[in-house]
């Protein structure tokens, strides 16, 4: 099956500091890739490059047929295919949950309000928050806010979802409810790339684990790779996590 995301020898610098030094990996349609690694290993940057939030200085990235390195890249078309969820939720505080979700479908897809509202309720039900439509983000717990952020992305019917440490700001219980939603998405066939520190989740749900170290893909394999690491770096990373 042709990959939906393909990074080839991607290089990224912040000034003279090299963040990515030749990152190569691909994710097939329906695949769930978990990127793990220490802070500063470049995993979040790699994810942001996939969504063209960061410019790359070398290599190529193909996402659903969009060439990210192309200066003429149509960013809005790319973002219609790719959904992204952030560590800090980034909900719009002045809008209700429902309005947060309706904004993009009405603005970008020119959907009429009643349809957009139906859609909002549908994706909210999907993340188990149908009754919170009228609430404002600040009235929700962190876990609920993050599920709304996921629903907001889902409303755009993306082909690929990116999750950037989406549970890092949550306690174990709230983390659990967010991971449950993500697991259901994965089971529903959504292609997902997640940067995560949840090793158990990576082991259980990911079809592919990518261990990044010093700006490169150090080791990659299936979830069981975490049980028998080949490299000393991954071994020490996994052991420290326990």
């Amino acid at each position: 099956m042709s990959p939906i995301v393909k990074l080839t020898d991607v290089h990224k610098y912040f000034g003279t500091y090299k963040v990515l030094e030749g990152v190569t990996f691909e994710v097939p349609r329906g695949g769930v890739a978990a990127i793990i690694g220490q802070s500063g290993s470049g995993k979040s940057t790699a994810l942001r490059c996939i969504n063209a939030l960061e410019a790359i200085q070398g290599g190529t990235i193909d996402v659903c047929g969009h060439a990210i390195q192309d200066p003429e890249l149509n960013r809005r078309a790319l973002r219609c295919d790719v959904g992204m969820v952030f560590q800090s939720y980034n909900l719009f505080p002045h809008l209700t949950v429902e309005q947060n979700i309706m904004l993009a479908p009405t603005c970008v897809k020119l959907m009429r309000k009643p349809q957009a509202r139906d859609l909002a309720h549908q994706v909210l039900a999907q993340v188990g928050l149908a009754e919170k439509a009228e609430h404002y983000p600040e009235q929700l717990s962190g876990g609920q806010q993050q599920r709304v952020a996921i629903a907001r992305s889902l409303a755009m019917k993306p082909k690929l979802m990116l999750f950037d440490e989406v549970t890092s700001a949550l306690d174990p219980q709230l983390t659990g409810e967010v991971l449950k939603v993500m697991e259901e998405l994965a089971r529903g066939g959504m292609t997902m790339i997640l940067v995560t520190h949840e090793m158990a989740f990576a082991r259980k749900v990911a079809s592919q684990v990518i261990y990044m170290h010093k700006g490169t893909v150090w080791e990659t394999g299936s979830g069981t790779m975490l049980d028998s690491p080949r490299t000393a770096e991954l071994r020490s990373f996994v052991n420290n996590g326990l």
Binding site: R79, Y136, R152
Partner: protein
């Protein structure tokens, strides 16, 4: 000291006071609305425009904020006349106050824009919103909601400062007072009365802004918390 107050002497002139009030409100409302639009556009330009535009706006803001309003009013009044365009003192006053309050609005709104975290724009970008849509839905509205109290103070100040335009004989409240006291010779009473009227006007303007804010910023009305 045996001054005897005689406020009744002013009573026959209530119509002139009323006209003054109406003109003060008209001039300030005009300057508030157009100054708000100009200021907001300038704030966006200063935050996100080309280097040339940024410098242009910065110059406008600094020149206006570092010169006296009275001088600006004179320049507007005599300057427009020199161009051969005939405008009334009231119109010249409105223009001068608009230009003045536009510069202050620009700085206030700019503070609001800067308070919107980059991650908000990033999230909107990731939802495929266009630049204009991002500004409209995600940046400007919450930015203005945050600086709304400062804007309110600025526009109340503007209403009070409009008294300066009596100097080019714009027919607003202070000009009316000047005329009345020159006829009645009751200067003290006249200006006390006018001061009181301004006080009432300030409360009315503040209340109007509060009411408007409650209508526009739904979240604030429902939750009663600052953004």
């Amino acid at each position: 000291m045996s001054y005897r107050f005689d406020f009744l002497a002013l009573l026959p002139y209530w119509r002139e006071f009323l006209w003054g009030v109406l003109l003060t409100l008209q001039i300030s409302a005009t300057a508030t609305v157009s100054g708000f639009i100009i200021g907001t556009i300038c704030a966006i330009a200063r935050a996100d425009g080309s280097p040339f535009i940024k410098r242009l706006v910065a110059t406008y803001v600094e020149v206006i904020r570092n010169t006296p309003l009275l001088v600006q009013v004179f320049i507007a009044y005599f300057g427009i006349a020199t161009l051969g365009v005939h405008v009334s003192a009231n119109v010249a006053a409105s223009i001068a106050l608009t230009v003045n309050v536009g510069a202050y609005t620009c700085e206030i709104v700019r503070a609001g824009l800067q308070s919107i975290h980059r991650s908000q724009m990033e999230a909107a970008e990731c939802l495929a919103l266009s630049r204009t849509q991002i500004y409209w839905h995600v940046v400007i509205r919450p930015a203005i909601e945050r600086v709304y109290p400062s804007l309110t103070s600025q526009y109340v100040l503007l209403m009070l400062a409009s008294s300066i335009t009596s100097q080019i004989s714009a027919a607003e409240l202070t000009a009316a007072a000047n005329r009345i006291q020159s006829v009645t010779f009751r200067s003290f009473e006249t200006y006390i009365a006018v001061g009181f009227i301004y006080l009432v006007l300030s409360f009315v303007v503040r209340a109007a802004f509060a009411l408007f804010g409650q209508t526009v910023f739904t979240r604030r009305r429902k939750l009663g918390t600052a953004l």
